[in-house]
């Protein structure tokens, strides 16, 4: 199977600070890949490189078979991105935010566009009563859901999530995990998710990529838990993580 995202020999250097040092990573179709790593290990830089928002020092990235070039349009019709802060356009209502990508990439009738956007809001777990609100009138959790609805607007093949549960209370975070699983099962999505949230990692991901020393250690949850890398040991060794591992694994994936 062709990987959906293929990262080969990625190097990102800022002065003396080598963030990625020949990193290789493949994201396979229909999987949910969790990306973890300590603060400053380059998770955000990696995502920005994949999206063409950051010029890598060297290396090659392809998404859905298309080579990513800095600031050139990538596979814009086929990817969806949930930015960390939501990145909703503040001058537009919730409904308009979700409709914008559709309007941009399709000439479907207004009515249909409207209905599809509403559908995406519902799928993201929102009530349609928020449709006419402006982003500033919403809570952080709701903004993330709207942003997710927008990311789903174009029926993407791959979804990138940047710390989707950061800043949510545990109940809302668990809800969000459920939502991600639901979408993954129902929409034939490939998902790449940056997270610091161990619960969320065990609750949603098929494989985990850990960024250590500029490279990625990739494996299933079990493989990663067995790995003898020091950082991995201490990250997953903490009691919180252990508990998550014993309870949180998706029953259907275990």
């Amino acid at each position: 199977m062709e990987p959906v995202v293929r990262i080969s020999n990625l190097v990102n250097r800022f002065g003396d600070n080598v963030v990625h040092d020949g990193l290789n990573l493949d994201v396979m179709p229909d999987e949910t890949l969790g990306l973890v790593g300590g603060s400053g290990t380059g998770k955000s830089v990696l995502l920005r490189s994949i999206l063409g928002l950051q010029k890598p020092t060297s290396g090659e990235i392809t998404v859905l078979g298309q080579r990513i070039e800095y600031l050139k349009p990538g596979p814009t019709r086929h990817w969806g991105v949930l930015f960390q802060g939501g990145a909703l356009l503040s001058g537009l209502t919730v409904q308009e935010n979700v409709e914008l990508p559709i309007a941009l990439h399709s000439d479907m009738p207004l009515e249909t566009r409207h209905e599809l956007a509403s559908l995406k809001l519902l799928m993201a777990g929102l009530s349609l009563s928020v449709a006419d609100k402006y982003p500033s009138e919403l809570s952080g959790g709701m903004r993330k859901r709207v942003s997710l609805a927008r990311a789903l607007a174009l029926e993407p093949k791959i979804l990138f999530l940047d710390e989707p549960t950061a800043g949510l209370d545990p109940i809302a975070a668990t809800e969000f995990d459920k939502l991600v699983n639901y979408l993954q099962d129902n929409l034939d999505l490939t998902i790449m998710m940056i997270t610091h949230d161990v619960d969320s990692l065990f609750g949603t991901c098929d494989r985990i990529a850990v960024l250590v020393d500029g490279n990625a250690i990739v494996g299933t949850i079990d493989e990663i838990l067995e790995h003898d890398n020091e950082w991995i040991q201490s990250y997953f060794g903490v009691p919180r993580a252990r508990r998550a591992a014993s309870t949180g694994v998706r029953p259907d994936r275990a």
Partner: protein, 373 residues
């Protein structure tokens, strides 16, 4: 009857509609058209045979679902047959959502909006429209405009209005006052020599060549240079710029170019208004306080200054505008991490653009002097 997406067969007890090819987002318009043609004239039930589908997604499944709902409203039963499991889940998803939606709508059977509510909303809209930076372009896209050129043109016109038309009153007031000050200062000196008519020369020439355009430019730097930096910087911080790129829009094209173009158009226009107001200020003192007759004042203005003086001022305007707009947008785009940096760069944008204007003005003066204009 058949087309690329479906094939209709009439049986004695039903209308069989065989679906085929890709029922996906990209084909939605065609799918809508195709399904609209599925009518069962004699009330026979419609059976959608879904085994031949190549691919389906939520958008395609919605078209199918929507048609079956429309048929139901006409009293015609419809059914789905032969769905592959991996295709059916999309339809099931929509049916689930429709149920949630119904439940949702039952919950908040809101009373119709009260008038007060409406007016608050309008105030909110106005406040927002003052700040919204992508709103105008985004609305054009939502209205169906997708050609970049049309979008850029629309936004440019909006910028001319925001940075130019709306600045006319303040620029004119300032220039009028400076006209008064110039004439007054000059008259204090020149009256001693009994050369008070030269007050007109001094005021009109300095306003047309220097003060008009400088005042307008400094005002615009403070008013719009800072607004550009703050607007783009805020969008940068909110990752809105990144979100636009990921959607396939080029922020430089739709946000930066219209601002530069808009200002290059707006500033010469503002300069003209500043010139007129400045000379009126001078006239107030000359006619009102120095007792120069109006006719003589007008004659003297014509005699002392000519088209050249006006053009010298106007020629500088687009260059100044370019400096202000580029500095403002560039500093805005440089914002990366924090609100504190946003504030700092906004200030920097104003300070630097005013500095650049003065430097450029000095160069222009030298060049014009050399050329003897």
């Amino acid at each position: 009857m058949e087309n690329a997406y479906l094939q209709v067969e009439k049986h004695h007890d039903s209308l069989k509609v065989g679906l085929r090819n890709d029922w996906v987002f990209d084909n939605v318009s065609d799918l809508e058209e195709a399904t609209a043609s599925v009518v069962s004239s004699d009330g026979l039930p419609v059976i959608f045979q879904c085994g031949g589908l190549q691919d389906i997604d939520i958008a395609g499944a919605w078209v199918l679902y929507d048609r079956s709902q429309q048929l139901a409203e006409l009293g015609i039963k419809s059914d789905f047959e032969g769905f592959k499991a991996e295709h059916f889940k999309f339809l099931r998803n929509i049916i689930d959502m429709a149920a949630i939606r119904e439940f949702d709508e039952d919950l908040d059977d809101e009373p119709p909006p009260r008038p007060l509510h409406g007016s608050i909303e309008r105030v909110g809209q106005n406040t927002l429209s003052a700040f919204e930076d992508i709103g105008f372009i985004a609305r054009s896209i939502l209205d169906g405009t997708r050609r970049p050129l049309t979008l850029i043109l629309g936004e440019t016109i909006k910028q001319v209005y925001e940075t130019g038309v709306r600045a006319i009153p303040i620029v004119m007031i300032m220039s009028f006052l400076i006209g008064i000050v110039l004439a007054y200062q000059a008259s204090a000196q020149l009256e001693q020599f009994g050369a008070k008519i030269f007050v007109v020369d001094l005021a009109s020439i300095s306003i047309l060549r220097e003060m008009g355009v400088l005042l307008a430019a400094v005002m615009v730097a403070g008013r719009s240079g800072s607004a550009f930096a703050a607007a783009l910087g805020t969008m940068k911080l909110n990752e809105e710029i990144d979100a636009l790129r990921v959607l396939g829009l080029n922020p430089n094209q739709i946000l930066v170019v219209p601002r530069i173009l808009g200002l290059v158009i707006a500033l010469p226009m503002l300069t003209l208004f500043a010139d007129v107001a400045g000379i009126l200020g001078g006239a107030l003192i000359a006619i009102g306080s120095l007792d120069i007759p109006t006719v003589q004042f007008v004659e003297r203005v014509k005699y002392a200054s000519d088209m050249n003086d006006l053009m010298v001022g106007l020629t500088k305007a687009p260059f100044f505008a370019f400096l202000i707009a580029v500095t403002g947008t560039l500093r805005g785009m440089q914002v990366e991490h924090s609100a504190e940096q946003l504030g700092r760069l906004t200030t920097t944008a104003v300070v630097q653009s005013i500095f650049l204007i003065i430097v450029a003005d000095a160069y222009f003066t030298i060049i014009f002097t050399r050329l003897g204009i």
